[in-house]
Assembly symmetry: C2
Homo-oligomer: 500 residues x 2
């Protein structure tokens, strides 16, 4: 009997393709039990015997037996050895015996209306690294070794409270550190309890929209603007009102026909065109929001990277108790996969939005939040931003020079402020910027069409959004020359003549 | 002039309370600039002079000047020293000058309908550690040192692709490791591309509901059931249909009046009563879902912890291409703050739900996902579960014994299977289980009322949900005796006599 079982197992072992021997043996025995080759109550060989028959070490066999015992496939009886346990009825485990009249395979796949709307506008690119992917910082410049040391220090002796479900808006250390940082760097005024740590801008917008807006409520969005926010609003069934921008930021309408529930703006650095909202416009926006009962959502996504001129304080700190919900992210200052961001909540919303966050997402990630708190507290965050500011300023200048040198001044967008992680290469209105991006993508050069940042396709400007932050200067020229070839092939004749 | 400035700074320095000297000086100078004590274009002392006057090291002063220069508060002119930069108009930075007619402070706070509904049912407890919090594993038993070593190894040389936005469902290493683990431990059948890594059960239910359900669609939920899932369904405006459970799991109705879009079940270990869904019931459920065009969502939240009897394979693997969306979490097997879980997607939904996940949440957390993948691959995950299974079995037995010893057999719920992280202490129908929990909470003993797991308050059973997993045996008795005193005070006379 034992040799029959060992033959059976040898055969099943040969069918297993796992790296580890003990896993192959484990699977082989388990499959024999599940498919009935080893019947319930049958005795299996002693570990020493099986090891000899299969030419394996006894330890391997013991490990496998132990796991199968723990999982209830085997059982031992004192003095009489190891047996296959009474499993559930055969029919239970052998699926083919269950007839469902084939109905389940014809299950029609119907997505929800909001789901279909989202999928129609899906814009996230599977490629997120390389020249000139917009919105991605130089993640290789992050001090991983240092951060890893801080993390290691924290992870060795975590408190149980840092390992269970979070609540109260996130790690206290990170919230305290952020209050100081935001006050100094962004003139944001808040207490630690106003801060809610999020997974990033998307989660922040999602939470705010769900808690403050009913379906079909009006939300003002800058046009052009970030596709990601539009998609979060779509899944929440908002009525999106695209608002034009000029060089002073979002243009306020003379008459407000329907009060917006939210006004989402990027006043420090309009995305993607780059305008800075003027003080006058800011004051008018605050007055309009107060009158209309709207909440302003200030998306301060990359404002740390301003390469010349004064720092531009946040709208949030301009007026005490302004109806401003300030949102920020570490995706641009550190790296995107960190998935950490924050909301500075106005006090009247504070408790409710923190509670809703716990209900919807449960809290957590407290160890990495604490590590980041210490990273900020010890001055590494400010130092990293300073270093990146110099690096990105240089790369920005390098790319601007390439554009002007090869295409001429006309190709550099007039709104481009000396800031951020991307700039815009202007194209004539007759150009198909999506086609250029598609062709560039086929050659491995990642750029995004400016026209895809517009909701109203009739009013688009044409251009290429080019991220310079994550591209070393020595790689930039080659990638640019490749792109230039594609651009040239799609330019109207009067512009081709300017190309060098 | 220099000495005037140094007097001013000395005074401001005294008002700063930061640990670090350079931060105090930085803040002192910055505040002087912002409040106008240091006017634009005024020259500030050379670093050497200021260091002497303030009795600080020159390096400290240099560090601070450098930061203020980088942030644009100061500027240097060749040969003539360091100056305060032209800042934005005073009125910009001094908020009080901006009049909004006081309107913003009277901003009425109105939450959305779904938001109000969510807040009304908010159930997440701010206390998440201690005897007898349900649903929390023993997070102190996790091998933090080992995991931290794996993380350190990975974090030292991450690839840029692991640091940028994720897509494709999460870290390939983790998805591959999960396929093997789920096949062996749970009889789940899938390919790596069917796996989508999530933040846990909440995000999984949120994504599935948004993508597959229109507002008001019917969703069947077990009654009693997990409050967290109800709240995610509420924010998505679902019609929740509470379905009774018996000892074979969710009771299927004879006639289905309106086809449910989703049927959410916990077949391996009904939450919170503990029933295991019978094979017969599973077959009928699959047939009903196929006929009604419903998706079954199998929530397999704590099925790894079964302390006796056979392992209970997942519904997902019972029939090929069954309309089952399988969801799981590492919150119970490892620790909740990890915020990692997974969905095993049926192939017809796979690409769309992965795409929607990228659009709504962006991907990320790839380093910790990779670390977990290696942790599983190297056998540590299975080993940890085996260790915890022994530990929890012991604690469960200890708590059961306490209950039976002091209250009698009647107090141990009949559905309690020998599994999971909690058990139910039965109370007579006349007892106010919420009041008992509230009183216990005031004494620091955390238990949840069984009645709060019901939507229909008229049909509730009474009892206490008691988590035993995170309570060491030596602490259990004291906490239990404290609880017993409170229970006794609320029992009807016929039951009090049974208390020892």
């Amino acid at each position: 009997m034992d040799s029959l079982i060992s033959d059976l197992l040898l055969q099943r072992l040969a069918e297993q393709h796992d790296d580890k021997l003990y896993k192959r043996l484990y699977n082989a025995i388990r499959i024999c039990i599940l498919d009935g080759s080893l019947k319930p109550e049958s005795r299996i060989p002693a570990s020493r015997d099986l090891a000899k028959m299969l030419a394996l070490s006894r330890n391997t066999v013991l490990t496998v037996y132990e796991q199968l015992l723990a999982e209830g496939y085997l059982l031992t009886r004192k003095g009489s050895g190891t047996f296959v346990a009474q499993t559930l009825p055969d029919s239970y485990l052998s699926s083919d015996s269950i007839a469902l009249n084939g109905e389940q395979s014809s299950q029609p796949v119907e997505f929800s209306k909001r789901g279909i709307n989202l999928l129609k506008h899906a814009s996230a690119s599977p490629k997120q690294w390389g020249a000139f992917i917009p919105g991605v910082p130089d993640v290789t410049a992050f001090p991983h070794h240092l951060f890893s040391k801080i993390q290691g220090r924290i992870s060795r002796r975590p408190s149980p409270l840092e390992l269970t479900y979070g609540s109260q808006g996130g790690s206290p250390e990170l919230r305290h550190a952020l209050v100081d940082h935001l006050r100094v760097a962004r003139s944001v005024r808040c207490d630690p309890e106003q801060i809610l740590i999020t997974e990033g801008i998307h989660q922040a917008i999602d939470l705010i929209t769900r808690m403050l807006c009913n379906p079909k409520d009006h939300v003002w969005l800058e046009e052009p603007g970030y596709w990601g926010i539009r998609n979060v609003l779509r899944i929440n069934d908002m009525t999106i009102c695209p608002m034009p921008v000029d060089k002073a930021g979002l243009v306020l309408p003379k008459n407000v026909e329907k009060n917006p529930r939210l006004i989402i703006v990027t006043p420090s650095h309009q995305y993607p065109l780059g305008a800075v909202m003027s003080l006058r416009r800011r004051q008018r926006l605050l007055a309009l929001a107060a009158k209309a009962g709207s909440w302003i959502v200030e998306d301060d996504y990359d404002s740390e990277f301003r390469f010349s001129g004064q720092p531009i304080p946040a709208l949030q700190g301009l007026v005490k108790d302004a109806p401003v919900i300030y949102i920020g992210t570490f995706s641009k200052t550190l790296y995107p996969a960190l998935r950490l961001g924050y909301i500075v909540l106005p006090k009247p919303l504070m408790n409710e939005l923190k509670s809703a966050h716990s209900e919807l997402y449960r809290g957590g990630h407290l160890l990495i939040q604490k590590a980041l708190g210490q990273f900020i507290e010890e001055g590494h965050y400010a130092a990293h931003i300073r270093r990146m500011r110099l690096l990105y300023a240089r790369r920005r200048a390098f790319l601007s020079d390439l554009i002007v040198l090869h295409l001429g001044e006309w190709a550099l967008s007039q709104f481009n402020s000396n800031a951020g992680l991307h700039l815009i290469l202007n194209l004539p209105d007759s150009c198909d910027d999506r086609l250029i991006c598609q062709k560039a993508g086929e050659q491995g050069v990642l750029v995004r069409p400016l026209s895809s940042y517009y909701m109203q396709q009739k009013k688009t400007r044409k251009g290429l959004i080019m991220g310079f932050a994550c591209v070393a200067e020595e790689l930039m020229e080659d990638a640019f020359m490749q792109l230039l070839g594609i651009i040239k092939a799609h330019l109207p004749p009067d512009k081709v003549s300017t190309v060098r």
